[in-house]
Amino acid sequence: MLSSILRIVHNKKVVPFVFLAPFMTIFLIFKVYPVILAVIMSFQNFQGVQSQEWVGLTNYQNVFNLVRFGQALTNTTVYTIGTLLILIPLPLILAVLLDSGRVAQSTLFRTLIFLPALTSLVVAGTVFRLILAEEGFLNLFLSSTLGIRPLRWLETADLALPSLILIATWRWTGINILYFNSGLVNIPRELYEAAVIDGASPFQMFWRITLPLLRPTTLFVVVLSIIGGYQVFVEPFILYTGGGGPGDGGLSMALLIYRTAFTSFNFGTAAAMGVILAAIIFVFSLIQFRFFGVFSKED
């Protein structure tokens, strides 16, 4: 009995599946199956494991009729666009400058600007709660240097998204510099040397050589930012103590899903929202990949 099991385990055809089994078991049970379950639940009125009934598209209709969902979708989209507008050009320019040889101690700067990426988003949230508070440092700084009246950052609906984008800028700039840097060092130096001989200005070299050759890296960072932006959760969750902030100004889709599931215990609706969020992320990723022509190059 044991020897026959051993013979099977050592069979050349079986070996790869033995190695794959642990990962695939956990992957199928806790990643693939929950997706299927969530899609099923999104078509059900789910009142616990014992009682489910099929309700067709009712959950989806409810979601789209929900004022808060529209607001969450708008907030999340504006947040994602805002982070893209800052977290692509800023780290790109900083990475190019750090790589240009015109900055002393560039490794030290890279390391220090990277430090925020090590803090958990929870801590980032608590620290910015303190800094953005009405009597906090940001208001003190703004009023003493620029004479701006103290703003109620955490209590004003229109300031919720700028606050969240500020946190994102702090947290992700260092990582994006790192990504752009690893793209930059892959650009052959000879191209720049040839351009210098041809009398190209640094600015021309940036537009004609650096930007085009950095496109795969830029695509990657854009896709990552969109996927991450649409999933923003911890920052508003901490900043507004689990709620959506003043007038739901900081309510993100992920936060609404969490609250629908674990505050209202409305699992069917939460599942439908999850499916919609996944669809948005999937479509954006596909558009990006097609736009940049990645599929045609690979395989």
Binding site: I26, K31, A38, L98, T107, L178, V185, F220, I227
Partner: protein
Amino acid sequence: MAQRTSDLILPTTVRPRPRVNASRVLLTLLFVVLTFVFVFPLYWMVISSLRPDGRIFVDAFDLLPSALSLDSYNSLFEQEPYGRWIVNSILQTGGFAFTALFLCTTGGYALAKFRFRGRNFLFLLIVVSQMIPFHLLIVSLFLMIIQLGLVESYWGAIIPIAASPIGIFFVRQYMLSIDDEMLNAARVDGANEYQIFYSVVLPNARPAIATLFILFSLEYWNNLLWPLIVFRQAENMPLAVGITRLINQYRQSYDLVMAGSTLATIPIIILFLFLRRQVMTGIAATGTGMK
């Protein structure tokens, strides 16, 4: 491959003309200011946690406070099970890193070094799964761990998130560079496939394993969403969930929250300063490996 990447990422670039001139000084100054802005919130967290009770906002413009106090740290350990949270975080982080490493090294080896039916499909499935938002899964996973009796347990926090797509992808990329001749030589010497994995493949993948161990640890230590769903009892929580609890309980006691945040962050930053290369090249490699 990862080794090559690490060579490339390090800023070894020496441009032809490193002259000392005005633009160099100005640019360096710009980065000094910028770095100050980025590091400031961390400094502010530490300094606020050390201010005496009730002085956080009153003294907010004293960038170098004269009076320091450890009161907030004392109350943190007296009023909340902060010590437990540290222990929980260390144990859960270690458990997660080891579990995820086991799954990713075995699975990554199979994807890198064996040809079998369905391999490309599995690979595509894993890559696509990277795009699935975790919020789509939370309701299903929550119901599943209730049925499995894993609520409030370490395993409930670890197992459902342990099959890391990026992790297996990273291991696969690295193991593609391991020489097949070496594996075949071991086969000729009579070693079976599992001995080869343990005594040839794993030692050769040590750099990738070390990097992944660090990245997995950082990931769990900083993760909030899943442990927040698994743990409701204060004594089982890891630090991230515990700090969230502090915010809810002590809305006005910023010093306490800052003390809790400082203790959860500073050890990580100190560790990072020793492992800087590995962390930064690792993040760049796992990232750029996806494109």
